[in-house]
Amino acid sequence: MANRTHSIGILGIAAALLVGCGASTPTKELQDARAAYQEAARGNAAELVPDKLLSAKQSLDKAEAAHNEDSGSVQEKSLSYVAQRMAELAVALAGQAQAQKDVVDAEKKFDETQESMRKQAQDEAARTAMALKANQDKLDKVRKDLADENNKVGEQAKKLAAQEADLNAKKAELEARQKELEAEKAARALAEQKLAAALKSLEDIAKVARTQRGLVITLSGEVLFVTGKAALLPLAKDKLATVAKYLQQEPYDKKIVVEGYTDSVGKDDANMKLSQARADTVREYLVMQGVKPDRISAEGKGKANPIADNKTAEGRANNRRVEIVIK
């Protein structure tokens, strides 16, 4: 008991002494604690983990109180140690909170970026699809135009081919016609040749003249007939054969008239009768020689159309004749 009182008494003195020297040098631990708190208070702990910062302050206050009460004591040191750690804890927790926020922000940004990229790609794809379609449409149009052109060309080619065929046909026709014409020409030339030849032969045996009436072949009566009769002399037959040959050379559509003539001697009706008989005889013979009967006729003219003067013997002889007229 006395020991206790003694201890308390000494305590009282020590306390008084302490109070007197209390506000003196803080321990290193307390200084470190104060510094740590200052740093924590300066940072983002106040904003992010205010409750932890408050706890740190409270720890520091405890340490300060211990310092005031018993400066340099083990309590002060221990509490300061704890206070320092509490301040550092607040800082660490604030750091963690910030990092967590950063993660959330970063993830948000990631999603936004991804979405933006996706949308960009989509727009790109849509643009590409549109461009592709536009090109496809262009291509289709070009193809269509080409097809139309081809059709047109095809049509024109057909037309041309038809025209060509037509031309060829006409050409062939023309050639055929030309050949026909040439054949006709050749035939005509041949005919003309024959005619000319026949005419030459005729001119050798008779008088041939072109007049208004046509071609007139004049044969003397004395050469042809027995005097005063209508019978043919043998020589006459040769001549008439030549005449017949000629007549057959002349175109069929030309009419032939055998005209008999006498001089002016004797009765008219006798002369007419004789001239007619003579014309008939000549006609008959010519038909026998091959001249088609329906193109040749015979006419007795009597003393009409004298070609010479009936007053002279020569003249009368000349008038006694047969004329074969080819009209």
Binding site: C21, A92, T113
Partner: protein, 126 residues
């Protein structure tokens, strides 16, 4: 001054000795401190330099506290346990902070990579 300091020291020691034995056994605090240390280890404090330091300090102080308790110096043991626990909590917080910082950096790197991909896949200027 030296005299005062000497008296104060003597008094403090007396106080400690006088009151030490009377304080309760801080068994709950021991359990809590041990739990805090385990938590710090699980979060990866040994891999983060600053956290590892505080973790060691927590473990050392826990051992000291248990020794003090064996000597029935519960007062001292309690103060030591306070320090050990706060060190363990700090180690835990530092380890967590480091982990989240890494996560945040990874998230930023992811964005950068995505943006680079976008830049690379852009078609040539028309």
């Amino acid at each position: 001054m030296r005299l005062v300091t000497g008296i104060v020291a003597a008094l403090a020691a007396c106080l400690a000795v006088a009151c030490g034995a009377a304080a309760p056994v801080p068994q709950a605090q021991v359990t809590e401190t041990q739990a805090a240390i385990r938590a710090a280890e699980e979060v990866g404090a040994p891999g983060v330099p600053k956290a590892a330091l505080h973790l060691k300090m927590a473990k050392d102080q826990l051992q000291t506290a248990q020794a003090l308790m064996a000597q029935e110096d519960n007062e001292q043991a309690k103060m030591t346990l306070d320090r050990a626990r706060v060190d363990a909590e700090l180690a835990l917080a530092l380890a967590r902070e480091a982990a989240f910082r890494i996560k945040a950096q990874e998230a930023l790197d992811k964005i950068k990579k995505l943006q680079e991909e976008a830049g690379n896949s852009k078609p040539a200027a028309q």
